[in-house]
């Protein structure tokens, strides 16, 4: 009898939660905006760049839990001043150069929001694939290498929805990501990123 009461109470609580969710806006979300990305812990490009953007969207399966998809891109460039390189076998090369790392990760994401009111802080995780292109530009030459890898990224941020009759709002988040991409010819074995993103939330 006691167990039966508990089950009834739990069922009522669940129904109440779903009912409450229906009052907090749309069940889906779309976020898009500008992404500032820094690459580090590699021997190719270690700097930060604002040449990037992101797009992500999902569905709130539960009031606090959403699942969706994402995609983003970033380019990080680094200028290498003129130097002379010993190429072995009696060869040498003198030039300045620029290193460029272009990344496009995409895949699935899961998000947990702590609130579904005006201010909605959340934590999330992304998993998927990453396409990357590493290029070494020298004079009139460009040596490039393309790669695919596995991508994972934890994220923490918030969205703000200040308008009473609209789901429109703003988003700010910081993230770390790691991709398993390898560019052996250019001495890259795994790509670490960290950055923030600033955008609109619908």
């Amino acid at each position: 009898m006691k167990l039966k009461n508990i089950l009834i109470a739990a069922a009522l609580a669940a129904v109440t939660a779903v009912s409450a969710d229906a009052q907090v806006g749309r069940r889906w979300y779309i976020d898009a905006g500008w992404q500032f990305n820094g690459t580090f812990a590699n021997n190719f490009v270690e700097n930060a760049s604002g040449w990037g953007a992101y797009l992500e969207g999902g569905y709130w399966m539960l009031p606090h839990v959403g699942v969706g998809v994402f995609g983003s891109f970033n380019t990080n460039n680094e200028y290498i001043p003129k130097a002379t390189y010993d190429l072995g076998n009696g060869a040498a090369l003198t030039t300045d150069m620029a290193h460029s790392l272009f990344q496009i990760p995409f895949g699935a994401e899961m998000r947990y929001r702590f609130s579904y009111r005006v201010f909605q802080p959340y934590v999330g995780a992304k998993v998927g694939a990453e396409y990357s292109e590493a290029t070494r530009y020298m004079s009139t030459f460009g040596l490039y290498d393309r790669s695919w890898g596995f991508y994972v990224s934890p994220e923490i941020g918030f969205t703000v929805h200040p308008f009473r009759k609209s789901n429109f709002g703003f988003q700010l988040a910081i993230y770390y990501s790691y991709a398993t991409n390898r560019h052996e010819a250019l001495n890259i074995n795994g790509i670490n990123n960290a950055g923030f993103k600033l955008g609109l939330s619908f």
Binding site: S49, W51, A53, L55, G71, S72, F73, T75, N77, Y79, P81, K82, T84, L87, N89, G90, A91, A92, L93, T94, T95, D96, A98, H99, S100, F102, I104, E133, Y137, M138, S139, T140, F141
Partner: protein, 218 residues
């Protein structure tokens, strides 16, 4: 609905791919890329004299040899000659080339249609056969052909300067080949043939010798 989502995804992908940011050329120092290579088995102090062809072979879009002999060519030749003399080698004029230990020939690429793009290691030491009008070993003496005596790896682009140094003390004969002992490749994307371009190439020649410290009589 699915078609709209698919369309949006494709458009986003196209946008992402097209948004790759190229490095700014403003950051580049504007100097030439300089590649040099040499035979590590060669003792360059064992040579005493050199000569240099007073014209520059133009590697263009036709199948025939043509040579440049103007103020631009004279500046390039003078620059190489000066660097060789600064390394202790004695210049011998072309009329007495039989007395020279080393011979230097220069080429200027204006078109890559008949010229190979990339060679790695010893896989193809005869890369220059891709251009029928390339230098003939017969110019230097009675050699059957000539070859690089070490691995060469580079890719040519238009408006680049090539310098080859051959060993004129090598055994001559119908079945003998003339070895190249040192070469350099200078590329800076020059195109207008201006005074500034000539200066860039001259700086490149200086750099080529600077990174070839072994190239010395002393």
């Amino acid at each position: 609905m699915n078609r709209k989502i698919l369309f949006a995804a494709v458009m986003a992908a196209i946008c992402a791919v097209s948004c790759q940011k190229m490095p700014s050329k403003v950051d580049a120092d504007g100097e030439c890329l300089v590649y040099t290579a040499h035979s590590e088995n060669t003792d360059f102090s064992g040579y005493s004299t050199f000569t240099i062809v007073d014209s520059i072979l133009v590697i263009g879009d036709n199948m025939y040899s043509s040579y440049l002999k103007n103020s631009f060519a004279a500046e390039m030749v003078a620059s190489v000659k000066s660097m060789m003399e600064s390394r202790g080698y004695e210049y011998v004029d072309l009329d007495n080339k039989d007395n020279a230990d080393l011979g230097i020939q220069m080429s200027y690429v204006t078109d890559t249609e008949h010229f190979v793009g990339y060679v790695g290691g010893y896989s193809d030491p005869w890369w220059w056969l891709g251009y029928p009008g390339y230098w003939s070993p017969g110019y230097w003496g009675s050699w059957n052909s000539w070859y690089y005596s070490y691995p060469v790896t580079y890719s040519y682009s238009t408006h680049s300067l090539l310098v080859d140094m051959v060993d004129l003390t090598a055994q001559e004969g119908e079945n003998e080949s003339l070895p190249v002992l040192w070469n350099c490749y200078i590329d800076g994307g020059v195109s207008s043939g201006s005074r500034y371009d000539a200066m860039l190439l001259e700086n490149g020649i200086e750099q080529a010798f600077s990174q070839s410290g072994y190239l010395s009589k002393n």
